[in-house]
Structure formats: C-alpha cells, structure tokens
Point group: C5
Chain length 294, copies 5
C-alpha cells in the first residue's frame, strides 16, 4: 500500500495525488488554510483528518522556559493509500510517524491512523504536566508575594489553556466521529482502540478544566492578597497616625504663645509633658485594639 | 432562470412577484421589518432566507478606526426563480452577488444560495480579525496604564461581540436548517458545501467565545491593576507619613515653651537633634520593611 | 360559534359554562389562582391557555416614568366555543380582543387564539424597547457620575427583567406546546403562524439575555468607576501630603527652640528657607511621578 | 384497604409488614437512614416514596423569627395497602394525612398518594413566601445601612435556599417518575393530577432560582455600598486634609524662629495671615472640586 | 470460582492470568498506569473496573488533622473468575474485600463486584462529612477573624473537592455503565442494587456541589469582611484625623510669632483656647456623623 509523505500542502505532488485519488477540493482548501482546526471528515473513498500535535518549544522571550506549541498534520486515509502532509520540524510529528512506521508498516491505513492519533494524544499529557508545574509554582509564589508579573503569567496561561482546550475539544469530536461515522476508515477491530484514545482525550479535557479552576483560584488568591495588603498598609498608617497624634497635639499646645499652661514654668516640664504624651499614646493604642479596630 | 434583484423591500415590483410566485405574507412582513434577524424558512415552493453580511465601516466618532457593521439580504430561492433584496451600499453584499453571478450564473438556485451564504460567512473572518487586533492592543495597553478610556473600549467591544455572536448563532441555525429541512432548496449535491460553511460558522462562534474570555481577562487585569495602584499609592502615602513622623514629633517637642529638654542650650543642639531625627526615621522604615508591612 | 367573555374568574357564569362544556376543575382552579403563570394545556375537548399581556403603566413613584406591567388572560378554546376571562382595564388585552374580533370573527377558535397570542407577543417588543432606552440612559449616566441612585435603578431593572424573562420562557413553551401537542386546538393551517409567533418569542428572549449582559456590563462599569475614583481620591490625598510634608517638616525644624540652625540669624532667613521648602516639594513630586507612583 | 400508620421506622410493626407485603430490604434501609432524600422507587408490587414536608418552626436563636424546617414521610403504596411512617410533630404532615383521610378515605392508594404529595407541595409555597418577605426586608436594609449582620443573614438564606432547592429538584424528579414509570402506582386517571403537582414544583423551583438571583443582587448591592462608603470616607478624609493643609503650613511658617516674614511686626498680622489662610483653603477646595477630584 | 488477589500490577502472576483469561492489553496498560481514573469497561468475556477507595490519612503537615486520600483497586470480573489488584495499605480497600468475602464468598462475581463497589461508595460519605465539618469551622472562623491562613484552607479544600468531584463523576458514569451495558457482568438480579449505589453517588455529587457553593459563600464572606475592615480602619483614621485637626490647627495658629491673636495676653489664655479647641472637635465630629459620613 503506498504511503505518500509531503512536507507542504503546496507540493505539486499533492495536485497529482488529488487527481489520482479523487480528493475533494474542500479538503485541499482546508489543508492549505492557515487557520485550519482539528477535524475529521469521512467520504465514500477516504477519511480526511487534520490533527494538531503539540511539542515543547523554547520560549524566545525566556530561553530557560519551554512553551507548548502546536504544529499541523493533514491525513488522507483511503482503503488502499495514505497521504500525510506534515511540518518536518515538529518532534511530536516525527515520533508519531516513526511509531506508525514501526508498529503498523505492514498494516492497513486504519491502524496507521490510530497509531498517529494515539501518539499525538499521548504527547498532550506532557503539555498538561507542563501547566501543572507552572500553576503549582504560581500558586506558591502568589501566597508569598503577589506581584504584577505573576498576574501576567496567570493570564498568559489562561490564554494558552483556551487554545489547548479548543484543540482537545475538536480532537474529542474527531475521535467520536471516527467511532460513529459509518463511512469512517476505522474498522470494528480498531473501534476499541479509538475509544481508548477518546477516553484519554476526555481525561485531558477534564484536566484542562481542573487547571482553569485552579488558575481562577490563584487569581482569587492574588486579589484577596492585594486586598489584605491594602488593609495591612492602612493599619500601619493608622498606627503611625495614632502614635503621632498625642505627640503632635501636645507639643502643639505647648508651642503656643499663651499663658496658663500647666508645668510651663517647671524646670522638669519637658519630663512631665513627655510622660503625659507617652501615656496618652499607649492609652489610645490600647483602646483601638480593645475595640478591635486595629 | 430569472433572478430578480431589488434594492428595497418596498419596491412595488415585490408585490407583483409575491402574487406571481405565491410568496407567504409572513415572509414579506419579515423582509419589511426593521429588526429582522438571520433566519431560513423553507416552504413547499421556495426557501426564504434573511442574511446579515458584515463590512468594515469608518467609525464616525474616530475617522481612523474601522467598525464592523451589518447590512441585510433577503432571499426567496424557488426551484425556478431567485429574488434578492439587498442594501446596494454594502461592499460585502456586492462581493457575494458578484461571486454568485460569476461562479453560479448558469446554475440552479441552490448553488447561488450557497455561494452568497459562503461569501458572507467568509467576510465574518475579517470582523473576527479586526477584534483580535483590537483586543491585543487593549491587553497591551491595560498592563501599561489602565485608564477609563480603555475600560470604555473593553465594554464597547463586549457590546459589539454580543451582537456578532447573535448573528453567528442565527447563521449557524440557518445552515443547520438548510442541511436538515426536507423542504429546503439545498439538494444532496450541495449538502457537503453547506456543511463546510456550517463548520466555518462554528469555528467563528468558537473564536467569539475565545474573544469574550480574553476580554474578561482584560477586564480582570484592569481591575487588579487599579487595586495594585491603589495599594502602591497607599504605600507611598505611608512611606511619606513614616518619613514625616519623627521630624514632626521631634520638632514639635523642641518647639514647646518648656524647660528641661536635652541639648536645649547646646550651641550644636540643632545638629544633635537633626541626627536623632534621621536615625529615628531610618529605624522606623527598617522596622516596617522587616515586618513586611511595606 | 359562541364566544363568552368574562371579566372575572369568579363570575357565576363560569360555573355554568364549566358544566356545559365539561371544563376540568384543575383549570378552573388555575384561572382563579392569584399567582398563575403562562401555560397551555390541551385536553380532548378544548385547549386551556393562560397568557400575560404587558402594558406600560405610569409608575406611582415617578409619575413621568412608565413601567411595564402584566395582566392576565385565561382562555378556554374548544372546537365550537371560546371562553375568555380578562382584566378589562388592560389596554393590551383590549387591543388583542379587538384585533381577534376584527380579523377573526367568522373564523374558528384556532385563528382567534393565534390572533390574541400574536398581539400579546407583539406588545412585548415595546417593553423590550422601553428597557433598551433605560439601559442606554444608565450606561451613559454611569460613565459620567456613578451614584447610588443609578445602582438602585440597575438592580430594579435586573429584577424586572427576571420577571419578564420568566413570562417569555413560559410563553415560548406554550407556543411549542401549541405546535406539537396532537390534542392542541391549533390545526395544520395555523401551525406556520404559531411558529412565526414562536420565532418572535425566541428573539425577545434573546433580547432579554442581551439586556442582562448589558446590565452586568453597566454594573461592572459602576464598580470599576468607584474603584477608579477611590484611586483618584487617594492620589489627591497623597499629592496634598507630599506638598505639605516639606513645609511642615522644615517649619517644624525652624520652630524648635534650639541653636545652630542655618540662616537662623540672617535677615532674609525666611526667604532662603521658603525657597528651600519649595525646592524640596518640587523634587519630591518629581521623584514620585518619575517612579510612576502618582 | 388497610392503611398502617407508624411514627418511627424502628417500630417492630414495620418488620411484620415487611414480611407480609414483601418490602425490599433496600427500601427499609432507606427509611431508617438519617440522611434520606426525596425519592420515588416503583417495584412490581408497590411504590416506595420518601417525601420532605416543610413547616415554619420558631428559630431557637431568634424567638420572634420563624424558620422553614423539613420533616420526613416514608410511604409504601401497594395496590391493596398503604404504609406511612411519619414524624408526628410536624404540622404539614398532619395536614397532608388529614386531607388524605377526608378526601380520599374510600379511594385507592394512588389518590391517597396524590393527596399527600399535593398537600406537601402546596406547603412549600409558604416557605417561598417566607423567603420573599425576608429578601425584601434585606434589600431595603442593605440600601439603608450595610452591616455585617445583614451579610450574615444573606448567607444564611443562601444556605437555606440550597437545601430547599435540593428538596424541590428531588420532588420534581419524583413527580416525573410517578408519571412515567410503568410500574408506578399512579393510574392514568391521576396522571393529570400528578402533572399539575409537577407544574407547581417547577414553578417553585423557578421561584427559588429567582430568589437566588435576588440574593446575589443584594450581595452585589452590599459590596458596592461598602465600596461607596470607603470612597465617601476617603473623600471626607481628603477634605479634612485639604482644610488643614494651609492652616498647618502657614502657621508652621510663622512659627519659625526666622526673620523676614511679611506682617511679622504688624499689629494686625494675625488678621492678615488668618485671612490669607482662609483664602488658600477656599482656593484649594475650589480647584479640587473643579478638577472633579472630590 | 477462583479469586486471584494481587498487591501490584507488576506481579508476574498477572501476566500468566492475562494469558489464561485473555485479558486485553489496553486494560493491563490501564492497570499499570500511574494516573488511571475510575472507569468500567465491559468486553465479551469479562468486565474491567478501576475504582478509587477513599480513606482518612494523617496529614503530614498537621499531625492532628486527617486528610481524605485515594488509593486504587483494579478488578477483572469474568463469569468464572475474579482478579483484584489492590493497595494493601488502604483500610477502605481492606473493608471492601473483607465484606465481599464475608457476604459474597459463595456467590458469583456480580455480587462480589457490587459488594466491593458499594463499600467503597459508602466510605465516600465519611470524606463528605469530613469536609462538612471543616467548612463549618471555616465559616465560623471567617466571621470572627478573616486571616490569610483561613484563605489558604478555603483554597486547599476547593482543590481537594475538585479531585473528589472528578472521582465521583467517574464513579457515577461507571455505575451507569454497569446498569446499561449489555456486556456488563451485572445480571438483572443485581441491577436494582447497582441503581441504589448509583443513587448514593448522585447524592454524594449533590453534596459536593453544595459544599462548593458553601465554600464560595465563605470566600465571599472573607472578601466582604476584608472590605468591611478596610472601611472600619479608614473610619478610625478619619476620626483620629478629625480629633487632631482642630488641636493642630489652633495650636499652630497660637504658635505663630505674630501679634493680634485674641487671648494672647490673657493669663487664662490656654484655658480659653483649650476650650475652643474641644468645642471645635466636638462640632466637627457631630457634623460628620450627622451627614452620615462616619
């Protein structure tokens, strides 16, 4: 059985194959579109699939950080042929094709399609692990010191999870389609395998939902931490004001050019007044704390 | 096959056509309504469709900005006739009719209807791109400086996305209706094409949901930025208060008309007291920072 | 065909009709209940319907304001009779009965029921327009000056929309029931008309959802405006503190009864010290602005 | 037909009846469980039902307040017997049994079961009215003066509504089950009656949802009121600061032991300086108000 | 009937059994996976189940606290054999196996599977009770004194409930599968028992939802408490400012080196001025309270 592997949907070879195997123009258009999303479409002669393998790529903004990135595989799987259009630089695509060649070479296309799909889905788990680690780090960090940088990272992961979720939802629907569509290339023998892959995708989606919940928790922690700190700062300010108040008021009173103030003429006036000030301050702090205002 | 093209639902020609082709009074009423929404209704003799092409119009409030705007197309597609009522000033309508004429002129109305619908749906992608750009700009802006103007823009886009979403949901339901209703003008040959258009609308709706999520993120960033800034301002105020406190208290004390204060008679009193003040301030700041209150 | 019109469910005539036409006791109980909600119930002999026409009533608290208010119509529509129990003071009910008499007098009860239902649903659009206007006004007002009165109005409209939504959801279910229940009085000829009314109710519900979204936006704007203003007031307070700080500290220092302060004996001391104070203030403001703290 | 009425599921009589009528051990276990929830389970020989009548009980914490409380009824309704296990202290249970005895004594168990269920559901309306009153009071109170006590009451009602909603959802499912399960004791004649009860439960659930919405509104009002008050307090603080600033700065300046201050030697110096201070203050307040900062 | 009990999925015995009973490689892979979730999969020859018993384990961070922890049981239940792979250190697993041996030893595998599943589900109730207690404690604590530690505990429980909910949702689906899948080992006699277990799981899930609602309430209480306290602190600060203001302003005025101040030369000047200051302060506090600003 021939397996044609192309590196680009603009390869002129694709036009020849399209004529030979009667590929539908809408599928060719999809393969060439920039913004194609994961899908499976089964016709009478073949099953067309778009898959999105994920791989960890070094983040150009932070060279020590890895970042989940998507590439694209287009598959045309007929009863007696297989055409794959892949991005040759993606290591997950490499792994999928390599496993398909090793475990399924002598087999029919249904097995090849399953092997490629299953490897791609397996790789999503590493993306989920990556986010688990990052969310754990953020949660620890946000309790210690809520900074705007952490906030930026929370929203960045939220954005990335939106994308990942979209890919997973479409992959889940694609697995469902492969199981249920009577035209699908997947034969009864491989139904159970596809169902297993489907279960994995459902579990992945479940994890993404959990991670979104956790991120929202982290955001709530951030917000309450900021509120708490504002509250703390307010209290410090109030304590400072409370300490200052008697000193300022009493020293102001004794600074007046008036007559008749007690201790005015006493040689130890400063001592007496100083003592009175300290007593006032202590009393004020005690009252505020007693009334649970501080 | 005759194709009647009218520029207004009040054209007297429409009354004649209504009699000739037995158009239902409820459909005429819909075509003339100001607030009609996207819908498809199939009867025994023809399919009636209301579509809402989108186009980018210069915003009257900000001449350098473009703003997605909707116009209306009403279609009566029978087996042997087509009536279109369009807004002649809308460029997307123009493009749709022009493509229908070019690619479908010799064809039956099902193909014409598909071509018009598909062109209109394609144009929605440019509206989505427009919002993607604006949301990206807002997200950058909100991290730098959260101003009420940005807030106003976030809520304006939210409002526009509510409208866009409503049009897309109705268009999705219309595509579904065209595929499933046995009375629909769409024949089996064009089912696959309409399904492709349906997939596009679903992807568009998915993008709108993502954009609403992103806008909510942006709003959260705004709110946390404001909280953060309030917190920052509070800290500045507290630092200022902390710096001022010893100076004010000590200078107040030495301003009192009392006897018995140390260094009162010393010729370098100001120096000693100044030094004491600075030491107190430094100590206070150090304690506050040590206690993680600032 | 007899059409009995009663003004109250306690009219003794109703008891007679109940015996004559075999009305179910549960339906009589519903008609007499204070809290009946919109519903349709079809039995073998007749269709029972409770409808809630809306009309704009002068608000007793604010005589210049109109307020959407609901009244009740109970209908018993059999194959050869029609009983209506209405509130005679409601103008929407009047309009519905008048149109039914004009357009449907010689007709069978299905047409009468449709005409009454359709007129009632048409009147809901004016309630929606009323809320559109009020929400627009609130949105403008909340950007200019967020006051507790506006907040009160936002929550009042939210409460009214909850009621309107409940009536519309029940009306939608009633329309569905009239289309699908094989016992329903509505014959195939009027199915299309009821479906048109159903479409109108769905669009109305869609508008209510949009208005709830818009109200939530308005509430978010209110909350962020209050946060923003708190932030602004904090900044003003901090600027005042910053301006006062050097003046207070320096004047405090020169108010001390100590020796050794510079310029103490200079005849232009006040000038020099004043100049120093202004310089300190300017420097402090410059530093704070530079550090983006203000 | 025998009707056995027990006051406790631990009554030894129940064991005898279980043997005589072949009651399922799982149903006995349910009847004896502390945490049983509303359910209906129909077997070949009888229908088992757990119901939760509600009654208003004096709140032990606040003797003037009534509080909705649930008791439990277990029913075994066979074709030729009825067993009820009730809490004899609950007035709603009393009312339900009394009505069943009065209106259904000579009847078959389906009617008895309906009468008991209908009376119990009718009593839920009084619980809903109770919450309507309390929510109205809270809404008025929260606008006037948002105190932590009101907050505590809002969350207490939220918690009670969660419980009520759970009972109502289970009662709704029980009604559905009684209508649809072919094994159910309810015969076609009573289907319409159960459907009427089902409609009442659906309306009750609708009211609970509305009340939860209203409570969330009240909570939002509380939060915005607190924000508003913080804002108000901040403004008062800022106005006080603004009024104090010129007095403190100018009096500080004239308190300095320096030469060269204007009016220093004038006999009406205090008057001139006092006038200057008041002018500064007025100017400052005017500028702040003009800039919309206060 | 043989019952093989293994302590580890890596036991070489499992390989032998896999060959003997034709176990599917995907099930073996699942049993060996680290992250397997609760599931049931029925083939022609046997039913494969993964269950997650819960037990209370001493929290290593807080030795006086218990913490719900999950272990894993893998079951292969054929018509004439049972294989269980369990964690021997889990007390809930012990209890489940012990009860199966006691009540079901002579029975067929369907009963054993039911007994194990039912015991495991019963144990979840103790986890729910554990959370009920902790949430009650937190709710009381948060009203008294909202501290960041309480916040940390709220979010920790939220995280644990997310995990528990996931296990319960999967267990519910597994129960459904056991009832409905025609391949399932569960025979009609045990359907009712499994339905009873299913009802328990649904009630548990209901409790988890209620607890999540209650935790969100607790979080809201926390946030409003912090807002309230900020508000309180602000008021204290403002009262302090109000008390200080006249003292500082008037003492500043009398500290000026100017002539023409009233009482300047009076021997009881201090008395008069002190009295004026106290009057001003009282008046100011009275006005602020009257205007409802404090």
């Amino acid at each position: 059985m021939p397996w044609y592997q192309l590196d680009s949907p603009y390869d002129p070879k694709l036009e020849e194959l399209a004529k030979q195997y009667n590929l539908h123009p809408l599928h060719l258009e999809d393969a060439r579109s920039e913004e194609e999303s994961v899908k499976v479409d089964s016709g009478a002669r073949y099953t067309f699939a778009v898959l999105k393998p994920v791989y960890l790529k070094t983040d150009p903004d932070a060279p020590t950080e890895k970042m989940p990135t998507f590439s694209t595989i287009d598959l045309f799987a007929g009863k007696d042929f297989l055409i794959t259009i892949v991005d040759p630089t993606c290591p997950s695509t490499d792994a999928a094709l390599e496993r398909a060649r090793r475990e399924g070479a002598d087999d029919h296309p249904a097995r090849l399609l399953y092997l490629i799909l299953d490897t791609i889905v397996d790789r999503y788990f590493s993306a989920i692990d990556h986010y688990d680690d990052r969310i754990d780090q953020l949660e620890d960090a946000v309790f210690d010191s809520p900074t705007p940088e952490i906030l930026g990272q929370i929203f960045a992961i939220k954005r990335e999870l939106i994308d990942l979720r979209r890919v997973l939802v479409n992959t889940r629907d694609a697995c469902l389609h492969l199981q249920r569509d009577p035209n699908s290339i997947i034969d009864p023998e491989h139904q159970l395998y596809i169902r297993d892959t489907y279960d994995h995708v459902v579990r992945l989606l479940d994890s993404v939902e959990t991670q979104r919940d956790l991120l929202n928790n982290t955001l709530d922690i951030y917000l309450t931490s900021v509120s708490n700190r504002t509250n703390e700062v307010m209290k410090v300010l109030t304590v400072l004001g409370t300490i200052a108040l008697p000193a300022i008021a009493i020293s102001g009173i004794y600074g007046m050019n008036l007559k008749g103030l007690p201790f005015e003429e006493s040689p130890h006036g400063a001592l007496f007044v100083g003592f009175a000030t300290i007593t006032c301050t202590a009393l004020l702090l005690f009252v505020l704390r007693r009334m649970k205002w501080l």
